[in-house]
Structure formats: C-alpha cells, structure tokens
Symmetry: C2
Subunit: 501 residues, 2 copies
C-alpha cells in the first residue's frame, strides 16, 4: 500500500511536469511573441528532459515490480490495477527505446520539418525524400527496440492506440473501403451539387467568436474551467481538470469552418473535462485511452451531432440572431445540404466526412508499405497518386497537393493517421448506441438539449479514463467489437437524404 502511494505521488509530480509543458506549448501557439521562440524551445526541452528522467528512473520500475506481485492489483478493473498496468506499459515503452535514438529522432524531426516546409512550398518531393528515408529508418529501429508480435507496424501504432493491432485495423478499414468508394462514386454520378455558396457572406471575427462560445457552452463546455482562443492550427489542450483550452481560427467570409472547428475541439475538451482529473490527476486512470477514442469525441460532436438537421433547427435561428443579414436568405434545408457536401478533393484537412476516410486509408497503407520496404520513399509520389485515382477518382496536380500535404511524417508520426478514421468509426458506433439508449436525440437537439448525450458519454466513456483499452471499451459500451457498419450506415443515410443515392 505504501509502495502504491509512493508510485502515485511520483506519477503525480511527473504529470505536473507534463501539464507545465502543456501550458508552455499552449502559450507558444497562442501568445508567444516572435522573438520569444528560442527561449521557449529551451524551456520545453528542459521540462521534457526532467519529465523523461523522472519517469524512466529505475525507482519507478522497482515500485511497479513490487506492486505487480501484490494483492492490490488482483481485480483488473480496480483503480490500482488499472494504474499499475498502464504505468507499466508506458514505463516499458519509455525505457525500451535508448535515449540516443530518442535524441536522434528529435533532431531529425526538426530538420525534416524544415525540409518538408521547403519541399511543400516548392512542391519538390526530392527535397523531402532523403528525410523521409531517414525517418522511416529511425522508426524501424524504434520498432525494433519496442518489439512486436505480428507486424512491425504494430509497434508504431502502439504509442497512439495502445493494444491495437495492424491486423484488426486492416480488417475494419478494409470493410469500410470498398463500400465507401462505391458510395462516393454514386454521389459523384448523381449530378447533385451541394449549394455551398450559401456559406459565403460577411462574418466579423468578434461575432464568430461570440457564436462559437454559444455553441461550445450549449454542448456542455465549462468556461469556468476553460478558455477559447485564436491560433493558426487549432487544437485542444487539457492542462488540468479545471483548465482545458480550445482554440480556433477565423475566416471572415464564412463562419462555418471556425464553428465546426469549435465543435470539434469542444468534443476533445468535453472528454478532458469529463476525465477524473481532479481526484486522480497524474494517475493513468485520469488519462485518455488513446488518440482514436479522443478523436471519437471530437468527431461525434462535429459530425454526428453538428452536421445534423436537428442541430441546425436549434442553431440556425441563433446564427441569424448573431450574424444578422448575412443569413437572411438561407433556409434550413439548403443550409443542411451546404454543410454536408460530399465530393472528392485533394487535401485531407479540407475534405468532407465521407471522403476523409479514404485519405486516411491511403496513408495507412502507404505507411505500412514504407516500413516493410515494399515501397521505397522515392516511389511515394507515384504510389500516392495512383491510390488517389483509385479511391477518389482524382489525381493531384502536384506533390504539394499530394504526398507533401501533411506535416506528420516529417515529425516522425508514422502510425498516427489511422487514429483519425478510428475516431470516425468509434464516433458512429457510440452514437448509434446512444440513440438506442436515449431515444429521440433529434427531438432533443431541435430543442437545444445536448446535455443528455453528454451525460451518456461521461457515464459510458469519460469517467473511466484508461481503465479499459479502446477495444474493451467499445465492446462494453456497444456490445460489439469495432465495426465499419455504423459509420457506413450513417453516411449511406445522409447520402440518400441529400443525394438520393
């Protein structure tokens, strides 16, 4: 018992260091004056080093070993067992990879990002290619230290989706792929076009911020325990139980991009605000399960809720109140169609709810091919374009709009992309279950009632932190393993309603 208390106290201090770096990073992206950047990098590097040194100290390993053979962890669902199990997982991962390799990856990532920025700007893949080569080699070495059973890619998925396997993701993603290609093809053939021009108008930043706050508050964001600010690449930062910060950016010609972004980040924030971080700060059971589960919460509020007609039955009149004349001539049906356009495009982050997943599937396959040497870095542009043609029927005019569009690989984040589509899959599967459990959600949304759904998410998902793996959680909440059916059903229903296919 004393060893457990010692471990929890130590994990708490380590997590405090982590939360300090969260604030340093939030401030870096929201407030930092230009000339403050070099100093901020030093601050963050120091805290990251202290964090790493303390978490990988042999003392943690000793405490874990002692606890693993104690009665305290007998019930696998108990706080203590969940904490010890997850701390072991993280400790092993952190200690298996040698410090020199971590440092080499960090340095390579900085240089690779510079090269990527230049390569994308000039649309010259050759500038980035040697760095992609290096990065893939480093990730293979990392995987070697971490170890894997079935597939090298398992070791790369692992930091983002603990316990997930390449085989399971392939099974689910493949059952999504062909039906989705078919559906998107039918939509393209339908000849119907969403009336996206109604989204354009004049929307002053201060009014967009006001409307964003109304939206975030309505779905349950606690502004006494959080903030909304402006940044270039929006994100959510869960600094502490009482301090969760979301960010957005504004385009004065259209408010929908910012508003859907706010719903997305609020989804992440509601998860953070619902985790048991006040009582259990620093313990694994107060943390998020995985990036996929985190993303499921943002996608659920953005897409499953925020792109519903019933949602806009409540919010379109509110938007008219805030923005006045720019929305005078839009009706609910037109608006609903406009924000649900489904059409192939080159850029992942600008793509819609349906085609988005094919952007991910493409990356998921290419990543595996790269780390198994089936694909050479030099052949990436051709492989990318070939798959874009096959999945979405379009060919990028250049690599900037093709295989150079995302920052992830330059940062060494191989294995990350899958979590976005996992988020969409989990979101749809959770939503389907919530609708079964709670009854007529659309009727509630039309009346502006979003808290019953939030309460359900808190009860079923948020409060458990990392007590279950993602796979255990989806089985527990929905009675089924992860499946592509709920997302496909959701997209098919929408396609039928809007495109009559």
């Amino acid at each position: 018992m004393q060893a457990y208390q010692t471990l929890v106290k130590e994990l708490r201090e380590i997590a405090l260091l982590g939360s300090i770096n969260s604030l340093l990073s939030w401030d870096e992206h929201v407030n930092l004056p230009q000339s403050g950047a070099p100093h901020r990098a030093e601050q963050e590097a120091l805290i990251a080093r202290l964090h790493h040194e303390r978490f990988t100290s042999p003392r943690i390993g000793e405490l874990l070993a002692q606890l693993e053979s104690s009665d305290l962890v007998k019930d696998p669902e108990s706080d203590a067992a969940a904490n010890v199990r997850n701390a072991r997982r993280d400790y092993d991962r952190a200690t298996k990879v040698p410090t020199e390799l971590v440092e080499e990856m960090t340095k390579t990532a900085v240089l690779a990002q510079h090269a990527w920025v230049e390569a994308r700007k000039k649309s010259e893949f050759k500038i980035f290619q040697p760095w992609l080569d290096n990065t893939v080699e480093l990730k293979k070495r990392e995987a070697g230290y971490v170890g894997w059973k079935d597939h090298i890619y398992d070791a790369l998925l692992d930091p983002y989706e603990p316990g997930e396997s390449t085989a399971n993701l392939r099974r689910v993603f493949e059952s999504l792929r062909d039906p989705l290609i078919e559906l998107i093809g039918k939509i393209a053939e339908s000849g119907k076009r969403a009336p996206v021009e109604v989204l354009e108008g004049s929307f002053p930043t201060n009014l967009q911020e006001k409307f964003g706050r109304i939206g975030a508050a309505a779905i349950g964001f606690d502004f006494d325990a959080g903030r909304l600010d402006t940044t270039v690449h929006p994100f959510c930062s869960g600094i502490a139980g009482g301090d969760t910060r979301i960010t957005t950016r504004y385009n004065e010609q259209s408010f929908i991009e910012s508003f859907m972004g706010v719903l997305h980040e609020t989804g992440h924030a509601l998860y953070e605000q619902g985790l048991p971080k006040t009582e259990h700060f620093g313990e694994p059971i107060a943390d998020a399960i995985s990036l996929g589960i985190h993303e499921s919460q943002s996608r659920l509020w953005e897409n499953l809720v925020g792109r519903r007609k019933s949602f806009w039955r409540h919010f379109l009149p509110k938007a008219r109140e805030v923005f006045g004349s720019s929305l005078k001539n839009v009706n609910e049906d037109t608006w609903y169609f406009a924000i649900n356009e489904i059409t192939p495009s080159f850029i992942r982050v600008e793509s819609d709810e349906a085609t988005y997943n094919l952007h991910i599937l493409l990356r998921f396959q290419l990543e595996q091919a790269l780390v198994t040497d089936e694909l050479k870095a030099s052949d990436l542009p051709a492989a990318w374009n070939e798959r874009m043609k096959k999945y979405l029927g379009i060919t990028p005019p250049n690599d900037a709009q093709g295989c150079l569009q995302d920052i992830h690989w330059s940062m060494g984040s191989i294995g990350y992309f899958a979590t976005y589509t996992l988020g969409n899959l989990y979101a749809a599967q959770f939503y389907e279950q919530a609708a079964t459990d709670l009854g007529d959600l659309d009727a509630m949304f039309s009346r502006g009632e979003f808290l019953p759904l939030l309460k359900w998410l808190r009860e079923k998902i948020h409060r458990h932190g990392r007590r279950y793996t993602a796979g255990q959680l989806v089985q527990r909440v929905t009675g089924k393993p992860l499946s592509a059916e709920p997302l496909l059903n959701h997209l098919r229903a929408k396609a039928k309603e809007l495109y009559a296919v």
Copy 2:
C-alpha cells in the same frame, strides 16, 4: 575556467526554471480559468521547489568557493567577477534561511492574506492583527538567520535592495520628508485646483488598447519581443530576452489611468528588453540590480516623461485622433494641469507623484518600529493615523483606507515599500543627468522622439545588468551618491508652474 562554465550552465538551467514560473504566473494573472487555480498553485510550487533545490545544492557552493580563489574574478568589473559575486550573494541568502522557516513563512503568508482580505473588507484591524504579529516575528527570525551589521531592518531591505542600508535610506528619505511636507502644504494653501474633470469622458476599451500600444511603441517597446494584455492588478513580466509582457486594466470613463499604467509597465519592460538576456541568460549580469532601480525605469517614463507638457504636445493630438469627440474641448495647458494634480489622499496607489512619497515614508518608519518592537501591532492603526495627519494633514475615516490598504505586509513583504520611493529618487536623478547629457529633451519629446533617451538609459543602466550595485550605478551615472535634491527640484518646478507656489 571549466568550473566557471559548469556554474554558468547550472545557473542557466536554474534560471530557465525561474522563467517557466514567470510564465505560469503571468498566465495565472491574465488567462487562468477560475477552476484551474488549485492545479496552477501545484505547478508553481513544484517549479519553485525544483528551483530552490538546485540553487541551494552544495555543488553550487563548491563551484563558487573554487572560483572565488581563482584569477578569473580578479577584475571586479569583469563578467566573471560580477557573476560569481552576485551568485554568491544570492546563494548565501538562499542557504542561510532554513527550509522550515521558508515553508512556515509561505504558509503564514497564505493565511495572513486571507485574514487581510477579510479585515480590509470589514475594515476591522483586529482580524489582521494576530497575523501581522506572526509575520513580524517570522521576519525577525529570518533577519536573525541572514544577519546584519547595524540594523535588523538592513536584513529585510537586502532581498529587494542588495547592499543598501537602513542608515543611508534614512539619510536620504529624511532630507526628502520635511521639504516635501512643506511643498504639499503650500500647494494645499494655494487654493488652486487641478481641472481633473477634463479627464472624464467615454473611452471604449478597444480604443484605449490601441492608444496604449501607440504609446508603448513610441517610447521603444518591441512588440516582436513582447505583448500587452489585460489583468486586474497590472504588472510587467520579463520571461526572457525575447519575451517581455506588460499588462493594464481599463476604465471606460477615463483613459489616463490605463495609459499612465502602460507607460509605467513599459518602463519596466524597456529595462527587461535592454538587459543582456539573450547572450547571458541565467547569469546575474543579465538580471536587474534591484527593485528600486527597476522602479526607477517605470517611474522615469511614467512621471518624468509621461507627465511632461512636451510629452503631451506630441500625444494629445494622437489621443484626439484615437478617441475623437471626448477630447474635443481640452487644450494642452488644461490637460497638463489635470494629469498633474497634487493633493493629499488616503490611498497610496491612487496618490500623485508628490504625496506618494509621504505614503512610503510613513510605511518605512512604521516597518522599522514594528521589527524593533518600538511599535506593537495593536498600536499600528493609531500610529498610522497620527503620521497621516502629520505628513498629509488628513485622517483616514477607517482602517480599510488606512493601515489595511496594502497587501504587502500580509505577504511578508516588509522592507519592500522603500523601493517605490527609491525608484522616484533614482528616476529624478537619472533624468536630471540625461537632460544634462542629451540637451533639450522637451524639444525631442514634442517631436515624438523618445529613442535618444532610451538609448541613453540602455547605455548607462540597462546593459550593465547587475555589474554594479544601485549605489555604485547612481554614482557612476550621475557622479553623485543618491540624493533627494533632483526629485525635490523636479516637484518644486512643477508646483511653481501649476500652483504658483
């Protein structure tokens, strides 16, 4: 040489921890959501502990001892000598006071502040009295550990004004006191009243912010290396060479309070931006000398520059451009008189450039009486009111407007108040010298030229960091020791011009 490099590297990391706490504190006062406060307190306490542990480690003492007997410190004005000398000073102070006493003072300060808030709210001194007793006892114990030669109060001044003595401050403050009482008395008898009503109008916050930015930039604040934000109790935070942040608050009925506050904080910020923090971050020579010297920079820009007629010859037309009709009927002379009202009042922070110093002198004397047991805490209200009557001719209607008005003593900051008047004294003495060296400053200000003065301050004061003590610096820059004459001359000239006395 290697010991020196080791010391500098260690001091640099320790200072990085300090600058991380600066950001945590800045964010606490500018951004922190209400529910984030308990977590923030834990973050700050952890960093403060790590900072203290590293700085007081015996290793630092060993390095210092080794360096003190080396050739490296032979020239007392060299970087190395100044760094070793100041690091020794800070190290001795930090290691002399036992951790248990520091912790007791920290805890007492938290509780004493709570009691003070309640006491001030109810205007009941009795609620605060036992905490003042405790605080004085703790400060006496602290002084006992630190040690002193002539006066126990020397040990309490020391953290704020390194090397300053009670005897020297008494000498200067006493030569200020009687002439200032006489001058303020004459002004009161003159029957003239400043036309302060012209300061009132309608000044929207966004326009005040715009004008504040114009003012700060004009006197040299580098917005690429800093920010301006809103808070409740304005302050300046020098987080790093490239990251200095000022804050203000707004009153929509009058912009002058916020604007003079911005000039004040910009004065602090110009010092921070002028210290050699980029090349020498973490070394004592990159730090400010003392609170008094820091305050001299804020007071110089706020009072010596910002309350000048020539300053407003340039800025009143700019203010008219920004604020429009609210300033239509004000002329330069009226405005100049209005912002230079001199009249006795109860509250220090609302008092003017002249009477302010009597508020300080009163506190300076009472603090000494408290720590030498000449004054019992229970007799403080009577002693306070008696001195207010003697110095300013007025008696506070209650203790909330008397001896309970300031937070400082409840925080254990005894010895701090003196630095405010020291700031005024240094400011006047530096300004007098700058006018001698640079010629017609008023002509420059009228044309909006403030950078020659800033350049002079950078050259004479900022770039030296802690190479000299405050006493050495004032002697070096002005050829004289600290004196009350420049401030008295400045105030007398203003009184003559405005009140004809």
